[in-house]
Symmetry: C2
Subunit: 237 residues, 2 copies
DNA sequence: CGTATTATTGACTCCATTCAAAGATAGTGG
DNA sequence: CCACTATCTTTGAATGGAGTCAATAATACG
């Protein structure tokens, strides 16, 4: 292992964002020594494939990725989008095999907390265990929201998608109001369970309502309140 | 703590089904000493409420339960159904608060692995940690399937629902072909994102096609192959 | 036995998909 | 630098699957 590959969770810009939150400096050091150096991939390259052996928990350092899984009909589903500072790989925890693929959406670098060191880490840093469970639980809450969303009309799904991206980017220090989608309309539609035409029409609609500004894949949110309002208006029964 | 409340994971009929899978006898003993006695609830009673403090991981010993969460519009969503031997409570792992409620669907008894003993258990039984992560991962795989399913037509959703129940009941030693739904058409519809009328019509349709037999809430699967076939037929593109 | 809840069934409506065609954008090589 | 192609996006019109509304039927319950 060359020093070039060495990465430290201490001096990483994502400090306090991915794993180390709430751990002592000493504990973060132990993790730093175990976390594998970051790798960089280009758009379309696989972080792991469906069926791959679980190699550990992965943290996105820069770029973004999508989690993709095939159903029994052979259709691909984009389950999730991962942004900088976010963790993935939990889909391999249950049976040591990944049940979905992770694919870079743009030039993307990431770190790895190797699976074979996890048992030992759990032993030495009990609080890390809780921390990982916490992340695991957060993923489940996200899945829960996604699931509830899937029963809602198209407009809300897209609104939620944009707000979610905005919130998560903000948390990582990026602009909450301006960002580039690294997904095509096709991919957004796939993720939200909508036809690509519907995505296109709705983006247009939001723009006409002066909620957002669309320039190709660049989105500017001009009225986040209006966008949020779409999500908490009671249904008329 | 009276002896009446004492429960042992060793002599429990669910042995090797809920937590203990893959642990040594000694380790199971340690868990037995910590797992809190089972409680029994009647239909409609809450195992925990949305927003409750996380008290630990719960195992259903008998009966069944539903996980329910409210969205921002105030609509309830049935996220999941829990059968005997299955674990719940993972939705409280992330921030110590449950993000959904667990409600008994019939007379139901359950055990509790208390949260405050978890850190110590993790320390003493590292393999338990992996075991819990494994369960956690399984829940995520289920959520993933549910999410992919939500993009599929009504017929498939109901077919999957019936097959899932059948498979899970079989795994716990119950009949895979005959069972009683402890859910109303309304609840099934809510869970699957369908109108209750659609559920009713589809159950009728499956019965007309001689795939199942419906007598009120009792279901008999007469042609499980035909049911499974609905899930793995490629879409005609 | 009567009442309340739950389930079935039919008719109509609507949201989102599908089909289709034109327009925009990005990438490539001459 | 521009033409050329492939890919992606927009927009319109028609279709359809599932929802809603409404009325009746069956079941559970006190």
């Amino acid at each position: 292992m060359s020093k070039l590959n060495q990465v430290s969770c201490n001096n990483c810009g994502l400090d306090n964002i991915c794993l180390p939150r709430g751990l002592t400096e000493q504990e973060v050091d132990s993790i730093s020594q175990i976390v594998k150096a970051k790798k960089t991939l280009q758009r379309g390259e696989f972080i792991y494939h469906e069926g791959d052996n679980f190699r550990g928990i992965i943290a996105i350092k820069s770029g973004s990725a999508k989690l993709v899984s095939c159903d029994q009909h052979g259709n691909e589903h984009i389950l999730n989008i991962l942004l900088p500072g976010e963790l993935l790989g939990f889909d391999g925890l249950s049976d040591e095999k990944h049940s979905s693929a992770a694919i870079a959406l743009e030039t993307t670098s990431f770190c790895l907390l190797p699976a074979d060191s996890m048992d030992e880490l759990f032993h030495h840093i009990p609080s890390l265990t809780r921390e990982l469970f916490r992340h695991s639980g957060e993923k489940m809450v996200e899945d829960k929201n996604q699931l509830m969303l899937s029963k809602r009309p198209a407009e809300e799904r897209l609104a939620y998608f944009l707000i979610s991206l905005s919130d998560r980017l903000k948390r990582r220090g990026f602009s909450a109001s301006e960002f580039k989608l690294s997904l095509s309309r096709q991919e957004i539609g796939n993720h939200l369970g909508l036809a690509l035409e519907t995505v296109s029409r709705l983006l247009k609609k939001f723009q006409d309502e002066e909620i957002i500004l669309v320039q190709n894949r660049f989105i500017t949110i001009t009225n986040i309140q209006a966008l949020r309002h779409l999500l908490d208006t009671p249904d008329q029964d």
